[in-house]
């Protein structure tokens, strides 16, 4: 059935949680009511990236972009746009609308600096329909590989492309495949690491939700290259939508003969199964992940032997991240030369980032390696809300670090980030403004680490706990000058002695904030002040007598009766009794209360 118009309703997790299910249902029923159901199709897609503006709806052929949709808006859009052909500008994304014309989405500043390789089909196809993926070229790379290339040629192509692991480590993918390829032992395994665990990161989830076939195809190509017939996707059970779409994709790929026996009429067979993780952060570490897949306790083990030699069931295994696999078909189809022409000298291609925190357009973006942080945060992300000042950006999750304003013009690649004391990680970007206390941020990430530490090795189990205690001390106003040295010493020891990547990088949040924001630590310790005004124990609330009109609102709302005074006279806060809850600060209609 040929439809003249497609209503693409975002079905990513972000838009689903802001209510896109109801929006889609409203479109279906209104379109039917208007008698347009034979000419207009409603399609659920993957993430468009602009999660901030969700639920997002794009209507083709015009390609116009409706943002923050509500079911109530739908009748008008069906009546005006779909029936009469007049887009309803008041519901369109403001930036796309001008007096003269309505711009398509790709021309907005959010998309202009982006380059979509791993996300090539996200938001464009219906991820639950394999034919739409095939229409966009899915499985052609697999066909090309199976019918015209040897495994050695595939590995060579991957090496030439310069693709490095997108899960965080940045190990060259082609090299990893070559190690596994050279192993004599069989069977071999291909494992997809979809255990995305960094706070605020949702790159892999979006790829699985928006274009699951790109992952399956990448895995099958890897299987052919190393000589494996069996693939496992290790995905966290907290990603129900991603799991559902993967299951549908696997089922459809089997029906079309793109997974299973004799793929493309060759003697290559490959199938994929899904294994669920229970959401332990450490299971993103490859040896812990393998243990979990085998039904054992999710704890890491020392390497070597590397999984390429002894992995799943002690057989040669490659483990790549979701985004890495999604890049593979694009490299095979367009050639290693194309891929390696994108990016910087040592980091090729593009990288997907989940942009969150204090930034106007939170969402999912993909940019060429070598883009600056400034471009990402200020051009694509639209800068900091409410005219606040930028303070730092946290990159790489709990293993990464904070990068301050003076390094915003650094180009993003694996090596430049390491030299700044951060790391690429899987691609979470948390933007922080002037109201963020960096000591508190370090504490937040360390709390996460302490929670998630598996406990197998002492440096991580005990060391991170001690570091957290010191940070607790500092933020509650009991810090001593020696604490900074203690933190640094502990951090270095943990880095050098922890068993796995998680432990070795656990102190990074503290080290990088110490490196760039040492003065904030010192202010907490020496002046007992939190410069950002976040750490409750270090705050004091006072009433400015000149501004106080004596309305008494603060006193009435104070839960501990710490405020006294006479009506129409300036009130006073009793600092001894004050519990620093901030209620008076919020209630004062005249801004007469300051927190310091």
């Amino acid at each position: 059935m040929l439809y003249r118009s497609h209503v693409m309703v975002c079905g990513g997790t972000g838009c689903t949680s802001s209510g896109s299910d109801n929006v889609a249902a409203a479109f279906v029923s209104e379109i039917k009511k208007a008698g347009l159901d034979k000419e207009v199709a409603v399609i659920r897609t993957g993430c468009f990236g602009l999660c901030e503006l969700g639920p997002v709806v794009v209507i083709y052929p015009e390609g116009v972009f409706y943002s923050k949709m509500k079911p109530e808006y739908v009748p008008e859009i069906v009546e005006e746009h779909l029936l009469k052909g007049r887009p309803v500008t008041k519901y369109l994304f403001g930036e796309t609308v001008s007096e003269k014309e309505i711009k398509p989405l790709e021309e907005t500043t959010f998309y202009k600096k982006q380059m979509r390789v791993a996300l090539r089909n996200c938001g464009i196809i219906d991820p639950e329909d394999i034919e739409e993926a095939i229409a966009m070229g899915a499985y052609e790379a697999l066909g090309k590989v199976l019918t015209t290339m040897t495994p050695e040629q595939v590995i060579d192509e991957m090496k030439k492309s310069g693709l490095r692991g997108r899960g965080g480590g940045g190990f060259p993918t082609g090299l990893k495949w070559e190690f596994a390829h050279k192993q004599k032992e069989t069977p071999k395994y291909v494992v997809c690491n979809a255990d995305e665990g960094d706070p605020g990161a949702f790159m892999d989830r979006s790829i699985m939700e928006g274009d699951p076939h790109s992952v399956l195809e990448g895995m099958a190509i890897a299987g052919y290259a190393i000589g494996a017939n069996h693939g496992v996707i290790y995905v966290r059970a907290e990603y129900p939508l991603a799991v559902k779409r993967l299951q549908i994709a696997i089922k459809q790929a089997r029906e079309y003969g793109l997974l299973g026996g004799n793929i493309f009429g060759t003697d290559f067979s490959f199938d994929v199964e899904i294994r669920f993780g229970a959401g332990a952060f450490v299971c993103g570490e490859e040896t812990a992940l393998l243990n979990s897949v085998m039904g054992r306790r999710g704890e890491p083990r020392p390497r070597p032997p590397y999984p390429a030699v002894k992995g799943l069931w002690n057989k040669p295994t490659i483990i790549n991240n979701v985004e890495t696999f999604a890049n593979v078909p694009a490299i095979i189809s367009n050639g290693a030369a194309w891929f390696s022409s994108i990016g910087t000298e040592k980091s090729k291609g593009t990288k997907v980032f989940a942009l969150t925190g204090k930034v106007n357009r939170t969402g999912l973006i993909e940019v060429p390696m070598g883009t600056t942080l400034r471009d990402i945060i200020f051009d694509i992300g639209g800068g900091i809300p409410d005219g606040k000042r930028f303070k730092a950006v946290q990159i790489g999750g709990p293993s990464g670090g904070c990068i301050p304003e003076e390094h915003l013009d650094t180009v993003i690649d694996y090596d430049s980030l390491i030299s700044l004391g951060a790391m690429m990680g899987s691609g979470g970007l948390v933007v922080m403004d002037e109201d963020t206390c960096m000591v508190n941020v370090a504490k937040f990430f360390l709390e996460f680490i302490v929670d998630e530490s598996c406990g197998k090795c002492a440096p991580c189990r005990i060391g991170t706990k001690r570091m957290l205690e010191i940070l607790d001390k500092i933020t509650s106003g009991k810090g001593e000058p020696e604490d900074i040295d203690r933190l640094e010493k502990l951090a270095t020891t943990i880095k050098d002695t922890a068993l796995c990547g998680l432990g070795q990088t656990a102190p990074n949040a503290v080290l990088s904030t110490l490196r760039y924001f040492r003065n904030e630590y010192e202010a907490h310790i020496n002046q007992k002040k939190c410069p950002a005004g976040v750490c409750q124990a270090l705050l004091s609330y006072t009433i400015i007598a000149d501004k106080c009109r004596g309305c008494g609102l603060c006193a009435r709302n104070c839960p501990v009766n710490a405020i006294s005074g006479q009506l129409k006279q300036p009130f006073v806060i009793n600092q001894e009794a004050c519990i620093k809850c901030g209620t008076c600060f919020e209630k004062c209609p005249f801004g007469a209360i300051v927190k310091q």
Partner: protein, 126 residues
């Protein structure tokens, strides 16, 4: 069950499937607009549009987008269908019906010969 056993099989499915999705990427090809304001709809624009869609599908035409538009102010000539072929002048067909619409798809879109006697210009000459 469409089992894919070769690159040719895949290509075949791809071509079929492309027709389903290409309105989302192709904005450079021929555009057909159908006037769908109150006047157009009252004069019977909807069957005209359905006929165009049906004919395009039947004849496997790709790279053509069909869009609706509002009233262009020539209500007495409705249903109006405008044809934008890249590199050619716009052609405005007037007083269309489903049969005429199907012929326009065949003659103009596929064979590249506008049917002059149904256009606005010929009406103005009279």
């Amino acid at each position: 069950m469409k089992q894919i056993k070769s690159l040719e099989d895949l290509q075949k499915i791809r071509e079929e499937a492309l027709r389903k999705v290409n309105i989302r990427s192709d904005r450079s090809g021929t555009r057909i607009t159908v006037g769908m304001a109150t006047c157009g709809i009252a004069a019977g624009a909807r069957p005209v549009m359905m006929a165009i869609l049906d004919e395009l599908e039947k004849r496997n035409v790709t790279g053509v987008t069909v869009v609706e538009t509002g009233c262009i102010g020539l209500c007495k000539f409705e249903p109006i269908v405008e044809m934008y072929v890249p590199g050619h002048e716009k052609v405005t067909y007037i007083k269309m019906d489903s049969d005429k619409a199907r012929q326009v798809v065949v003659e103009h879109v596929i064979n590249g010969h506008p049917i002059r006697e149904w256009t606005l210009e010929s009406a103005e000459l009279e």
